[in-house]
Symmetry: D4
Subunit: 252 residues, 8 copies
């Protein structure tokens, strides 16, 4: 609660328009709704300028439907459900929820509401197999309102494919670089640009890639400036951060 | 090389002002200077709007002095040397290099040139022991031109210390969150704000912290949106990224 | 064998009521029953004030039925079977065993016998996906005789949800804090209370959560006082310990 | 802030004894004191019924002296400083701070104030080399007010040494079990008693003990009920928890 | 080739009964038979006093049938096939191979030939779930010719179950100790006896047992003398070694 | 682009046969073809003297068919598809692509074109279970043009099997040594020969082999000279390198 | 206590030569002596046919002197102190303890008493750097009474050095195989012999040997029968086990 | 022993020039010399066309001097001693051994004998800190007889520095690529060339580089063809292999 609101509340008590008991209740009253199995955070929009995102993995269809319905009733739009299995998506649609489902990215968008796309985010990926994670990042940034350029299959073992795209990279305000295996793409890209590069290791690989560990460590140890890293396969997180940078406005 | 410059060069060949052999040479000619043990990248300023940063660890004093001198000759100012041991710093000063040395952050600044500090970066740290890493981040962002607010010793085991600073957090354009041990600070902060949070795990701890592994994993697995992570103890990297976000201007 | 009983036995030998051979046999005679594949420990009640708990994983239905039947014959009630697959539970019921099965917690309770629930245990969980583990803890404590308050979906990325429950936390005599991913919940809770907090890392997460490793390490490295940790997903163990603390009485 | 105090404050505003502005200030005013490098949490006593404990590792002597002095001024007594190197202890004494230093446990006690020791805590350790960690646990529990019985060198490779102490174990209200290497002691003890066992893995060992990893994993995987685990070598944490259990009183 | 045989061969050359070419051929001629996908080692009996054992995992039924048939033709009996899936066993039987299949131990015995069982090997296991591994060890030792006593479900959380069997342990010439989870059984047993204890960690457990890592590390770090360790779940290997010790005769 | 070609292009501009704009376009024009989901690198033949290899894992049948068809149109022959599942291979054949499928090695060869096989590569493997990886290496080297000798089932536990093949080993120009479990084969072979040995750890094993980690570490730590290592199960990579060494010609 | 002794004691009670109280005392009386910091296990000789061994690491000189003196008073001879630093050894000698110190093996022998050496133990080591660990094993077995043959520097990269010693290996009753780096020696030796092979990984190596992990894993995954493993650098443990096998006599 | 020599020996027996006993002795006689602590392998030159290399780490000065002297007496020249500490080098020189010591590479060359340098090996390194390892590789290849081009400080964060050297790379017959941190250099280089690339991870880095693990994993997971990997910091091994490839001659 911001100081202004707090003062306002306390002045109402001072003036007698509110009893101390009512004031205490309001101060305690949390800005969330309790569904039993989940507590929806309706105030997140105020704190983060974006609605709540639902982590779909491990939730039952009834839980998902309940969450989306209550959020929609509370006015949420463009509700993102990440890691949503296809059959869960079917259940939501069957329950009457207006849902667009992006299968490769396993991402559902409920109660879509067109958002103008501005700025310049680039999502680059090293190999064809990294596509699902890259798409999760690209879709997330687009849904939140960023204009996204996709540069796919530009891995470092064929540098000219990447170098041919240098201009798109240079004009980006934020870049998501997705790679599995040796995870070298973010380092090479960050050496070419000035904006922040959000690196996403993927679990693509075999043997000593150990589910993405190799790419993760490589990215954390990048010798290039400007690289930060999110969890393995976390396309959503990277898209969120890239949008968050992209929407930054000149300081007042 | 940008397309405009390339066309210009090719037109000079067309017009005979340049022979093909000279053109080939210029196209091949790399924009760096070779000192034998290192190749200074004088064009980095063009690519990244910042001078080269020297990773001080494992370099001899003569190597460091050589690097700084050639960069200064080429016009570089505010040359940052990270992980610079105190005795190396003494050697640089003894060699006549104008150097400011920040001991706790092990950071040297050579050929300092005042830069106006704008925007709003917050550097928060969980414990007193995390201070050196936090300072490395704060100093880096300041040298690059960001205005920095320091919130130290605001770890999650005493939440009220952090919550009392909520307004500084909310007004930040980029936040660096530094923590060792269980590394929970970035998650808690990211739940309170909308701007990107750059998490820095530190090697502070003992036993099962395994040199910062515990904090690193916790940060990568943050359940809050907006958290990306840099290498353990990499205060410099986080400060660079925070500044990079902070200086972002409204899209044209 | 306590000294009193030992003396009694030896005195019987002295008085001739028992031969030395009989005495040796009794001293050797272990207070357990051998089913071949398992040795039921009927004396555990004396040692631990609670009946034997059956670890259901990897046992066949006939083994489980045999164990429960012999324990019931020996007088056991409220026999807990943890990690009991649904089909095994069906087999036990089909075999005529009175069994209540809690599916989400995969916990079976055979030969239930109402136990008065006293004291105050809180089971808090970070996310909806942590619910099965939290339920295993809550049910265990309840079956053993603790009064349990459930605080679910109070993860640290939305602190106000947790802070709104501060009074329940403060009144608890023991708290179980369940969390996956970055595992920060126990640290934050322990900073708010004085009673012991038993932390349960869960395998919820993906990528660098490595099956609960991230949460486990975070909890072991908690900067807050009062946090101890059990195995990943070990809701039963945490519930047992919380009850064990909760039933503690004032020292005589 | 508890509801009673909050209501009291709001009623003062209602009655005009406090202006809304003063009320807002008090509500915002955090109960800590800011030394720049650290924020002392003077209210912890209210929350945890114990003074702040200082983690000595990595703090300078001036920082330590400053912290202790301000805490003493604020009325703290029995200030525990853990992981305090001997030379730091000397500096504190030289600065006039009344300090008792326990060298083997690397634990300092400043401004000691006799506390009656009640209840029954047992601290058991497997080998002679585990002594420093065991002592840290025992001293901590004693300083906080628990009566402690020490059972040292009772490792599982010579069971009769442990079994000879069975009566002390059975009468304990809380047990700390300290072991390195294969870390089996807590399992064996927990099989003999009904009270909670706090297991402390130590870094004692070599080769595949990997700094305590072997003992840590063994303890987390204990097949006995009632075992929870703290960080490697964290004797302080275990002593704190054991005291916290030991002081539990019968529920009202 | 032993020196005696070598001399014999060379003397045949000297005496002209063998040409140098024939001699070279025999010296080169390896005592194995090449099936293309495998090279059967018919001389192993000479080197190891036991027939070749077939590692069944990952071999096709035709490969297994081919191997067993050629070994039988060469005179092998009591051919052990470890990690043999049930369906593979069916295929071997269908192919006319006389095979006894022990399902819980996944062990097949082809061309069984009664072997007198002598000496005294004990196979002890901690829990009911460790039974398949324990049985693999027991059956292996029995097939090779050892008399085996099984002590199952004697885990350290109920010491009296183990202590009641002390005499069988003391009379053993070699002991196999099988345990998952915290893997403490071998340490406790080795503290009671003088003969070698072969420890077998099992993958039984969950969470931080990491597929048997916890038990493996605990056993490697045993504080008791006389414990050596084989691979996780390697009941066969332990049974082989126990028999190998058991058949040792007094030195001449 | 080699200097000769570059000069040629620039001379065309000088002579007016090419406009600067056309020249810039050609210089920018990357030698790859963009299929959207993949960028085919038609120039790789120039750089690596071998066509592009397709990593089959995780690609859909339409993606695979599209890639092969465009490569064939561009003139590629002997297109290798690694880690190709059998059902994908069926789809390619059904789509009319001339494909030879090696099931055990999961390797497809499209548009096969006989290549003369020269030199001498040996592929040795430790056990029957390592066969698929060894075959992938052998087939790769053969397709690229190497003559390959296969030495299978020559593991170090039966040294005479390996020593009997010493002459084939000594005559090799490059050796691939494939082994799982303890991965000792490359060390033993490298002690016998002078040519490079490419070691391939396999995921064959169980328990503490941890998916090939044991063999990988053993090979990296080889005490023999001449051993380098590729990823676990990467038979293709080893075959490629062995061929690459084998085709080396005397320096001019 | 063996049954015979137990019966004897009980018969004394029966006959009145012992009161029940005295009997209880004797049964309770633990066969160890309590020095405060350690409990000497004087009965170990009965259980293990060998005196107590002192693990020297981390014990102070007074502790060591105290332990040895009390053991000598109780009649112990040939007291082994492992991991004894040279300066500690000097302190023991200065305190008048008759001590032989083997520096390379860091092993002290106090109150030496000639023991006849029988049987046949081989200690083989891969490299010169593994010598200290090999010597610890060899000395231990010799002190306990085994005749030991040392085969040093017989690593697998020069097989003929090992093969030249085949006869010594074949005649051994137990073999200790010591190796760092890739740890292949035990596998190769076990393939040549029939007796048990105790493998000792050493921490010799660098880089990816990770303190002996590579050798440890290789040995645990040995494809040869008869290999069991002790902790990294645990020469003492291996020597103990080898002696334990070597002294085995023909079953009665 | 090659077949020709074997036949010759056997024919001498046939003809009576050699007794069978003498023949057996010669066949057994190993081509090494036993110094007690080491067995010099004088035949290695025959097997590997290169003299024995001494691994200097962990050897005493007398051991090193003894080894070099006996090798020199046996005719060895250009004896390489790797990982030789400076003080050991001084001892060797003091002992009269003609030794050239390369300090940065910690490599000693005893009894140097000029070798013509042919072919073309490139040693490339990513950063200035990787220089010692790169030098070890370069010196090794030069001593063995390869012509070496050094390309230092060509890391991937400044691609133009590497691309400017493309012609040297393309003309190489074998390339050693040395990098720490994210280890991306070998992948990028291998994408540009056709010859084998031997990747050397270095321990340069901090935090999550974990002593070179990050670079090691990245290199093992390289998406480029032709990359094989040696141990962390193993410049010697890479130089050896590069030379081994470089000296390959056209197949006959």
């Amino acid at each position: 609660m911001e100081t202004a609101n707090l003062l306002d509340l306390l002045r109402q008590i001072q003036s007698g328009r509110l009893t101390p008991e009512e004031g205490a209740l309001r101060l305690r009253q949390a800005p969330f709704e309790d569904l039993g199995y989940a507590k929806i955070d309706h105030h997140r929009w105020l704190r983060q300028s974006a609605g709540e995102v639902i982590f779909g993995l491990g939730k039952t269809s009834p839980q998902l439907i309940g969450l989306v319905e209550r959020m929609a009733v509370a006015g949420s739009r463009n509700i993102i459900i990440t890691r949503l299995p296809a059959d869960r998506a079917d259940d939501l649609v069957a329950a009457g929820i207006p849902l667009t489902y992006h299968e490769s990215a396993r991402l559902g968008l409920a109660w879509a509401d067109p958002v103008p796309q501005t700025g310049a985010v680039v999502v680059a990926s090293a190999g064809t197999s990294d596509l699902p994670v890259a798409e999760e990042a690209a879709l997330t940034a687009e849904i939140l309102g960023s204009q996204v350029t996709r540069l796919y299959d530009v891995g470092v073992a064929g540098l000219h494919r990447l170098l041919a795209q240098q201009e798109a990279l240079i004009q980006a305000r934020a870049i998501v670089a997705v790679a599995g295996m040796e995870g070298a793409l973010p380092s090479v890209i960050a050496g070419l640009v000035a904006c922040p590069v959000v690196a996403v290791p993927t679990s693509i690989g075999y043997g000593a890639s150990w589910g993405g560990l190799s790419a993760l460590l490589a990215m954390l140890n990048s010798c290039a400036n400007g690289v930060s890293v999110v969890n393995i396969d976390n396309g959503f997180g990277a898209g969120w951060i890239a949008h968050s940078v992209n929407r930054t406005e000149s300081p007042r």
